[in-house]
C-alpha cells in the first residue's frame, strides 16, 4: 500500500490543458473558413458523373448553379419523376433561366460579368434532352461559360 502511495506522490501525471483552447480555436477557425452554408436545399437528386479532365471553379461569387435531376422522394407526388430543373431553391422551367441569370448578374460587379460561369450540376442518369434545352437557353442568353460538374473517379489510375 505504502509503495503505491509513494509512487503516485512522486510523479505528477497531469498533462497541461492550458493549450487546449488554442488547439480547438485553430480547428474552429479552419472549419469556419472552409464552411459554406448551403443556400439552397436540393429538391432533385443530383449525383454527378465521374471524369478526369477537371478544372476547379475558383470564385464562388462568380458561379451560378443549375441543378437537373429527378425530384427526390419528398416531391415526387407533386412533381412526378421526370427530370426537372432547379434554380435557386425552387423548381423552374427552361424559360426561367434568363431571369435567373440576370438576378445573379446584378450581384456581380460589371467589370467581371464576362467571368461568370454557370455550373451545371446534372445527375448522371438524366437524358440529354433536358440538358440540351438548358444549353440552348444558356446560349441564347449569352451565358457561354459553362462547367459540367463532375467528380474525380476514386478508382482511376493516374
Amino acid at each position: 500500500m505504502a509503495k503505491f502511495a509513494k509512487k503516485r506522490g512522486k510523479s505528477k501525471p497531469e498533462v497541461s490543458t492550458a493549450s487546449l483552447p488554442d488547439i480547438i480555436f485553430m480547428l474552429l477557425f479552419f472549419f469556419m473558413v472552409v464552411t459554406v452554408l448551403r443556400d439552397a436545399e436540393l429538391m432533385v437528386k443530383v449525383s454527378t458523373p465521374y471524369a478526369s479532365e477537371l478544372t476547379k471553379l475558383e470564385e464562388k461569387s462568380l458561379v451560378n448553379y443549375l441543378y437537373i435531376g429527378r425530384p427526390t422522394q419528398k416531391y415526387q407526388s407533386t412533381y412526378g419523376t421526370k427530370p426537372r430543373l432547379q434554380l435557386g431553391d425552387k423548381f423552374a422551367t427552361i424559360s426561367d433561366i434568363p431571369l435567373f441569370l440576370e438576378k445573379h448578374k446584378i450581384k456581380v460587379p460589371e467589370a467581371r460579368h464576362g467571368q461568370i460561369t454557370s455550373s451545371l450540376r446534372v445527375d448522371g442518369e438524366v437524358t440529354m434532352g433536358i440538358v440540351t434545352d438548358v444549353k440552348t437557353q444558356l446560349r441564347k442568353s449569352g451565358q457561354l461559360k459553362v462547367n459540367y460538374s463532375a467528380k474525380k473517379d476514386p478508382n482511376a489510375k493516374e
Partner: protein
C-alpha cells in the same frame, strides 16, 4: 479571514477554464454544417447562338472526326462502332496523324471533332465521351509541351507557352443539334 475574502473579490481574473468548452461547442457546430465543396468539373465554352446550323459538309471528310452517341449510349466513330475505352487513342491518332494517313487530319490545326448525340443519350455517357475527347487533346498538349519546353502541360505554365501549344493543336469540337429518337 475577512482580509483574504476581500483580496479574493479584488482579483479580477476571468476563469478561462470554460473557454475550451465554448470553443468545442462552436467547433462541433461547424463540423456538422461543413460540406467541403468539390466544385470541379469540365469547363466548356459554348458557341454563341445563331439561327442557322453550321454546315460541316463543306469540310474535307478526312479532317472531320465524327462521334455519334445513340440513345442506347452506343458509340459510332467515323462509321464504326467503337468502345468508349478506344475513343481516346483513336482521337489522338486522328489528330496527330503520325503516319500521314490519307484518311486522317491533314494537320492538327485542321482537325475538327464533331459530336452528335441523341436526346435519349444518358448524361453520364455524354460526359464520358466528352471527357475522353478532352483527355485526348490534353495528352497531345502534354506531349508537345514535353517535346518543346521539357515541362508538362498545365494550366499555370507561362502564358506564351500555353498559347503556342494551343495554337499548334487547337481544341475544336463542334456539337450538332441532337437527334430525337430516344426521348423518354
Amino acid at each position: 479571514m475577512a482580509k483574504t475574502s476581500t483580496r479574493d473579490r479584488m482579483s479580477n481574473e476571468i476563469n478561462a477554464g470554460s473557454m475550451a468548452d465554448i470553443a468545442f461547442l462552436l467547433l462541433i457546430f461547424f463540423l456538422v454544417t461543413t460540406t467541403i465543396v468539390e466544385d470541379k468539373g469540365i469547363t466548356v465554352k459554348l458557341p454563341p447562338w445563331s439561327e442557322e446550323e453550321p454546315d460541316i459538309t463543306k469540310l474535307k471528310k478526312r479532317n472531320v472526326f465524327s462521334v455519334l452517341v445513340n440513345a442506347q449510349d452506343q458509340l459510332l466513330v467515323r462509321g464504326e462502332p467503337t468502345r468508349v475505352e478506344e475513343l481516346r487513342e483513336r482521337a489522338k491518332v486522328f489528330i496527330s496523324n503520325p503516319y500521314q494517313d490519307e484518311t486522317m487530319a491533314e494537320k492538327p490545326t485542321k482537325a475538327i471533332i464533331s459530336l452528335k448525340n441523341d436526346r435519349g443519350t444518358s448524361y453520364d455517357a455524354y460526359l464520358t465521351v466528352y471527357n475522353e475527347l478532352k483527355a485526348a487533346y490534353s495528352e497531345l498538349w502534354d506531349e508537345l509541351s514535353q517535346r518543346k519546353y521539357g515541362i508538362p502541360y498545365s494550366e499555370d505554365m507561362p502564358f506564351a507557352y500555353k498559347k503556342a501549344i494551343r495554337e499548334e493543336i487547337p481544341f475544336v469540337l463542334s456539337e450538332a443539334e441532337p437527334t430525337a429518337f430516344g426521348e423518354e
